[in-house]
Amino acid sequence: MDAQTLASTGISALMLSAIYILMALGFALLLSVMGVLNFAHSALYMVAGYICYEFTVGFGLSGWLSLILTVVVMGAFGVFLERFCFRPFFGDTNRIIVIALALIVILESLMNILVGTAVRKVPDFISGTIKFSGFQVSQQRILVTFIGAAVLIALIILIQNTRRGQQMLAVAQDFVGATLQGINIYRTMAFATVIACALAALAGSLGGAVYYLNPFIGDQMLVKAIEVVILAGIGSISGVFAGGLILGIIDAFLPMVLSGVATDATGLGIVVLILLFRPQGLFGHEA
């Protein structure tokens, strides 16, 4: 592998990791705080991409403003999601899974009917390439990597250093205990859902610019998010960073030595292998 290929694949690994982490963080947050397996996270990712597209192309807003507005709209949708889809079924995993699956079908079908399956793409947030030492890499991919890293750091700070973050941790550990301590668990869960949706919005908008938009783009990303969360260890937010990084590196570098569908199978095989030796995941706790 020559230097150009290594550099380009390395950037790709980091960018993939960033998008995986953004997706998985939201998924992991809801799983940790509320015990919700929100499979509809994939649909939120997809819807966010279309909303960002609409702000950018339809309303002619700048990419950055569109990104922020998309995050705000999707974050606001998180309030609705928590109040009307998750809270009534809090503690009932089976029903919440059904609700999440129903949300996928509803949102995908809605987009399919209203928008159609025509190919669309969120305009590049930044175009062009950076050249250094004979290497050439996409500026947008570097940007996505930095945004992913920055958001991850911000989220860790938020959880560890703010009152609301500590409340989320408390609810995640023992919601009865948290309630007895005077924490408004519903408000805390709503806050977690808002953040999760905002993260999906960020991932969907950036993914829509790097890749393309289609009502079904979230499906594959959901698989990746679940892989990252399992790899990280159920309940581990910080483990998502390592899980996302590992999966990003696997997905970026494995195709260099393998081909086609073998890369997907081998990537999953590596994840299974890791779980054989650490069933609780990299950062999870023994049951």
């Binding site: 592998m1 020559d2 150009q4 290929t5 380009s8 694949t9 790709s12 960018m15 993939l16 819807v47 279309y50 909303i51 597209y53 609409e54 192309v57 339809g58 709209v73 606001a76 949708f77 309030v79 609705f80 109040r83 009307f84 995908e108 987009m111 399919n112 009917i113 209203l114 928008v115 159609g116 399956t117 025509a118 190919v119 669309r120 793409k121 305009p123 590049d124 175009s127 062009g128 390439t129 050439q136 890499v137 996409s138 993914g207 790097v210 890749y211 393309y212 289609n214 009502p215 079904f216 594959q220 997905d251 970026a252 570098f253 195709p255 260099m256 081909s259 086609g260 890369t263 997907d264």
Partner: protein
């Protein structure tokens, strides 16, 4: 909180509507299309046709033709356009009052089933069309594994099927006597592409190949390699396979670029695959010629972006070129009126039904064996792209392949420029 929640629901419901109403500016061929509007327009057009048919003296019978298209999943972005092209054909064909069998006039009506971009979906859709709807003719099938799967249902039932594309002899050949192909396909393009390279890029010697891992490459790549080498060119290395459900293609493109090729062939795929791959290759600094197969160049350019959409060649049409055939110009007018959009994929879909109906008219029968025999007896056939011939006996072991001079265009700064119709040899 409740009021806020309700407001947010309204916002969320409003957003898709706004999206659907916005101008789709990323696709250069698009004026302001929405599926909803298009569907409404089509429904209106079909209703008009039905009304017109009802006014004729003798009530027309309806010939139902199955449509196997993916309306969900990765292939839906392109295959939904095939459906729309077939609906345009239905409208046009019924207005012509062309089909009369034993004195009975027939209108055609397409009945579509969603293949769901999967082999299981293809089998289920074909089963429903054959057993429930009872169709005797089917149009559809593009991706190899879906085509193969649908064939397991249609062939035993002797349902005559027109697939739009093929990559290898296992999905189409003597073992599928009721399957015809309406377009040139994978292996047919290697010759014209290699000729174009030799004529216009004399420094190009090594070609890298990127192709989906859909079962076809081990069968068609030896043929492609033989064709390339017959022109004094060679493969730069092993062909690079990518999974059809891949999201990020960077590593696959990097692997191809690591072979230090002078040119790249993207053999098969959809615009959602080729657009990102083109962009990645250009961003990595590759400036050499890149060839696709038959994919929609407008969608590819929309995804790849203006900067990356250069020196890219594909066997498709420029929708507004004066060099297009009259029938293509007509299809574009109809699609503009019905969908407020023009797409090469409408033409591709239309062509499959256009060829099928010629065979039925020739047979003067709705018996699939009679139609099959009549079609096999045709040496020449009209296509929307110009005069066509029936080929495939040497290449696939069965003369069921419609072949024509293939339209060829290139991307220049994101714009589609028609080069010409190139002869294709399909013995």
């Amino acid at each position: 909180m409740v009021i806020l929640g309700i407001c947010l629901v309204l916002v969320m419901l409003l957003m898709p509507v706004l999206v659907s109403c916005s101008q789709e500016v990323t696709t250069s061929s698009t004026k302001a299309a929405t599926t909803t509007q298009a569907a409404a327009a089509t429904t209106k057009a079909i209703a008009t046709t039905t009304q017109a048919a009802a006014t004729t003296t003798q009530p027309a019978q309806t010939l139902k033709i199955g449509g196997l298209v993916s309306l969900t999943g990765f292939a839906s972005a392109s295959e939904s356009l095939i459906r729309d092209g077939l609906l345009l054909f239905q409208q046009w064909y019924n207005e012509q009052n062309r089909l009369t069998i034993n004195g009975t006039k027939y209108n055609i009506e397409f009945v579509f089933e969603d293949v769901q971009s999967t082999a299981e979906g293809a089998t289920a859709a074909a089963t429903k069309l054959v057993n429930d709807t009872g169709v005797k003719f089917i149009v559809g099938g593009v991706v190899p594994f879906m085509t193969l799967a649908a064939g397991t249902v249609t062939e035993p039932a002797q349902v005559l099927r027109v697939i739009l594309y093929t990559t290898h002899s296992e999905e189409y050949g003597p073992q599928t006597p009721y399957t015809f192909i309406s377009n040139d396909a994978t292996t047919d393009f290697a010759g014209p592409d290699s000729d174009y390279l030799v004529a216009n890029f004399p420094n190009v010697k090594k070609i890298a190949v990127l192709t989906p891992d859909d079962g076809g490459p081990p069968i068609f790549m030896p043929m492609v390699q033989k064709t390339i080498e017959s022109r004094g060119l060679s493969l730069a290395g092993d062909y690079v396979l990518w999974p059809l459900d891949a999201t990020d293609f960077t590593s696959y493109v990097n692997k191809a670029l690591a072979q230090k090729p002078d040119a790249i062939f993207f053999i098969n795929g959809w615009p959602i695959h080729m657009g990102p791959m083109l962009k990645i290759a250009r961003e990595a600094g590759f400036t050499g010629p890149i060839f696709g197969c038959h994919e929609d160049p407008y969608d590819i350019a929309a995804i790849a972006g203006t900067q990356a959409s250069n020196n890219f060649y594909v066997h498709n049409i420029q929708v507004d070129s004066p060099q297009m055939t009259d029938i293509i110009k007509n299809i574009m007018s109809l699609s503009q009126a019905a969908y407020n959009k023009q797409s090469p994929t409408y033409v591709w879909g239309w062509n499959s039904a256009y060829c099928l109906m010629q065979a039925i008219e020739k047979a003067g029968s709705l018996d699939t064996t009679a139609v099959k025999t009549a079609w096999e007896g045709l040496d020449k056939i009209d296509t929307v792209y110009g005069p066509g011939v029936m080929g495939g006996l040497v290449s696939y072991g069965i003369k069921h392949n419609v072949s024509y001079a293939t339209p060829f265009c290139q991307l220049v700064d994101g714009q589609v420029k028609f080069i010409g119709f190139e002869p294709v040899s399909l013995p």
